[in-house]
Amino acid sequence: MNAGGRRSISGMHEYETQLAGLYEEYYDKIARYVFIHVGNREEAEDIAGEVFLKALKSLKSYREQGVPMQGWLFRIAHNLTVDYLRQTDRRRTVPIDSVVLVGNDNPIDTAEKNIEFERVTEAMKQLTAEQREVINLRFFGGLTSREVGGVLGKGDGAVREMQRAAIEKLRGILGVET
C-alpha cells in the first residue's frame, strides 16, 4: 500500500484473487446464513451470489477495515439481507408457502420439516439481536468466534459468552431432549 493509503493495481488483484478463492467455501455458508433470515432457498442463493458481486465492486472499501475477508463478506450478506427484507416487507411479495426446505420429499415429511424449521426460527427470534447474529454466524456461517467478533465489533470472549447464553436459551425454549 502506498503512502496515500491507496492500494496499487497489483494489490487490488491480490484482493480479487483472495475473494475468488473464498467463493467455493463461502458461497454455501453465506447462502445458509441468508436462508435463516429470509426462509426462501432461491432468494438465499440469489443473495449469496450478489454478495460476491457486491464484494468485487467494493474491494477498495475493504482494505482499511481490518476484518478478515470472510467476515467482511458476512457483513455484506447482512446488509443485503436487511435490504431484501425491507423491500419484501414494503412490497409484501414474499409468498408464505415459499419456506420449503425439501422440495420433492414425501409431503408429510416436508410439512413436518417446515413446522420444525418454523419452530426453530421462532425460538431464534426470542434471542437478543446480537445473540441471534452470533448463532447464525457460528452455526450457519461457520465463522470462528474471533471472526464473529470482527464482524460484530466485539471481543472473542464476549462472543463466546453470548454464544453459550444463546444456546442455553434456545435449549430452554425448544425443550431439546438430552
Binding site: 458461497y27 440469489d46 451470489g49 426446505l101 438430552t178
Partner: protein, 268 residues
Amino acid sequence: MMPDDFDRILDECIDRINRGASLADCLSDYPAYSEKLKPLLQSMHDVQKTCAFTPSADSKRAARQRFHAVLDRQRQVSTPSSFFRVIPRSAVWATIAVLIVAAIAVLVIQPVLNPLTVVPSPEGNFAFLVSDEPNDIGDFESLNVTISRVVLQRTGSLKRLEFTPETETVDLTQLQGEQSQEIWRGNVPAEQYSHIYLYVSEVMGKLGSTGQIVDVRLPSNKLQISMLFEVTDDKVTSFTFDITVVATGNNGRYILKPQIGESGARQE
C-alpha cells in the same frame, strides 16, 4: 471451573463440529465437562439439522460464472494501457476529474427515472419479448400465460426495477421456436443486469386432443433467469425470455420452465 473456561471449551467443540467432528469425539475429550456440554452441543446439532440447506449446484455454478465475468471485466478496466503509463500522473487525475464533472453534468440533465417502477415508451431503450421453446407445447390448443409484472435486478446490488407488461396475456402456442411477442418497451437505466424475474398470475392450458383444461404449474409464482446483460442508452436492448412447457409424466400435469439456453439479450 471458571465460566470463561467452559465458554472456551464449548467454543472449541463448536469449531470442531463445524469442521466435521462428531459430538461423541468432543465429549470424550472433555469427560469432566461432558454432562454440561452434551445438552448444549445436542441443541446446536438439532438446530443445524433442522435448518440444513444446501444450495443447488446450478445456482452456485451460475453465480460463479457471473462473478468471474465481472472479475474479468473489472481486471480489463483496471489494467492501465501503455498509453497511460507514459502520461504524467497529474495529467491522468486531471482527465479523470474532468470526466467525473462531465458525468455529473450529464446525470443532472437526464430525466430522472424512478428506480422502482419504469413506464412504457415506444422509443424506449429496452424491449421485453416472450417466446416458447417447443417441448410439449404440441399437446396444447392454447396455453395462455398471464404475466403480472417483470422485475430486473442490477448486478452487484439488490436494487430492482419493475414494469407491468403492456400485453399481459400471451398464448405460447403462437410463440413457438423463432416466434416471439414483444410485451413491453420502455426506458430502463443504462446498467448491467444479472437477473430477470417473470411473475405469473395465471396459466390456462387447453389440450388439443380433448379440449380439456389442464393443470399447468410453475415451480413458484415466478420464472427466473440469471444472466448478465447490459442496457445502454444509445441502442435498443431486446431481451427475449423463453418459456417452455413440459409434461411431468403420464399424469396429465405440466409445468412451465424458463429456457435459459434460448433466452438472452441482443442490441440493435
